[in-house]
């Protein structure tokens, strides 16, 4: 029996095939899918912001790109995952509203994308695919049996990464 595991905002979870990880309605947030294709293990994190301001006192490390990804890697190690085999797919980082005369508003999406890519690079994780930016919300289904990432949006065709 395969299970569907839902990941909320500022949350993270890991599962094995044939289960599916899902996170709903990403706006400027980013869903980070890490996949170990040999063992068929997947991790999905849903971050809100790029950088953790105070790592020592932060209760929820999964809220930030720079603390969530290392946390995911650490947990994946517990499953005997080889870091070099991991493939990353990232989704989200949209700018939902364009407030005229305020160019900085809504830039968190872009900053999130940048931060996620930087942390992946620092950890030498291959960024395999992405569906990021623009101005619409996305729901992510990460099928751990195949590694396929299904991206669903309102009024748009479903994408498979």
């Amino acid at each position: 029996m395969s299970e569907i595991i839902t990941i909320g905002i500022s949350d993270m979870n890991i599962t094995t095939a044939p289960n599916t990880l899902v996170t709903f309605a990403l706006g400027s947030c980013i869903g980070i899918c890490l996949y170990e294709p040999i063992l068929k293990i997947g991790a999905l994190g849903h971050i809100m912001l790029p950088n953790c301001p105070d790592i020592k006192n932060e209760k929820n490390v999964n809220k930030y790109a720079d603390t969530c990804i290392p946390h995911m890697l650490e947990k994946l190690q517990g499953y005997q995952c080889q870091k070099t085999r991991l493939k990353a797919k990232i989704v989200g980082g949209a700018k939902m509203f364009e407030v005229s005369g305020d160019s900085s508003f809504g830039n968190i999406g872009a900053r999130n994308i940048e931060a996620v890519k930087k942390v992946l690079q620092e950890n030498r994780i291959q960024l395999y695919a992405e569906d990021t930016g623009l101005n619409f919300g996305r729901t992510v289904y990460f099928h751990v049996d195949t590694g396929a990432v299904e991206v669903k949006s309102f009024n748009r065709e479903t994408k498979i990464l």
């Binding site: 709903f24 309605a25 947030c29 939902m96 509203f97 407030v99 809504g106 729901t139």
Partner: protein, 207 residues
């Protein structure tokens, strides 16, 4: 004492916020009703201190598609104001204004978006004006931005923009009801913590 954390809000603070919502949303309902020449009603506002995690499960679940109208307010107090309106409500208004049936599935036309933006202008301005005259604070509001999308993605915007340091956010919510009361529209006023203190002080509440 200043409010540094939303957990410090007591019943009196909540009542004051409700009253602010009452006056703001009441004014917005009246303006909308006058514009459309139709009865638009308002339910008693609620004040919600929400964990961002739970925000999506409100309003029909995170994937429920709604029309979001967002404006920033600045001046003596700052924050974000957002209308989350059911498609049917917006469709009814556009039909009334422009005499054409709206299909959200095909996406809104430029004209329709502009009509929604105009409705947003009227609603946000009348809401903010009411608060401004109640508190004597000088508040300016930006031209509203419109998005039609999953409510989870829309709701996260004020949460993320305003409170990078907190997982909680305060909503003053007013519900507009259209004539048959079958569809509703939520007005969220989301002030910064500092602005919350200013509003309370201005209304004579001991902090």
């Amino acid at each position: 004492m200043k409010i540094n954390n939303l957990e410090q809000l007591n019943e009196m603070h909540i009542d004051v916020l409700k009253e602010i919502g009452n006056i703001g949303a009441g004014n917005a309902a009246t303006s909308l009703s006058e514009m459309l020449n139709l009865p638009v009603d308002m339910s008693v506002p609620k004040v919600k201190i929400l964990d961002i995690k739970d925000a999506g499960s409100l309003l029909g679940g995170p994937e429920n598609v709604m029309v979001g109208i967002l404006a920033k307010f600045i001046g003596d107090i700052e924050g974000i104001m957002m209308f989350l309106i059911e498609e049917k409500f917006v469709g009814d208004i556009i039909e009334k204004l422009m005499g054409e049936h709206v299909s959200f599935l095909k996406g809104l036309s430029e004209m329709e978006l502009s009509a929604v933006s105009e409705i947003g202008n009227i609603l946000t301005a009348s809401y903010i004006n009411a608060i401004s005259s109640l508190t004597g604070l000088n508040i300016n509001i930006s031209v509203p931005a419109v998005a039609v999308d999953m409510v989870g993605a829309l709701l996260a915007v004020p949460a993320i923009e305003l409170s990078p340091a907190s997982d909680q956010i305060i909503f003053i919510e007013g519900v507009l009801l259209d004539l048959d009361q079958s569809v509703s529209s939520n007005i969220l006023l989301v002030p910064t913590l500092e602005s919350l203190n200013i509003m309370m002080t201005r209304l004579g509440i001991e902090l």
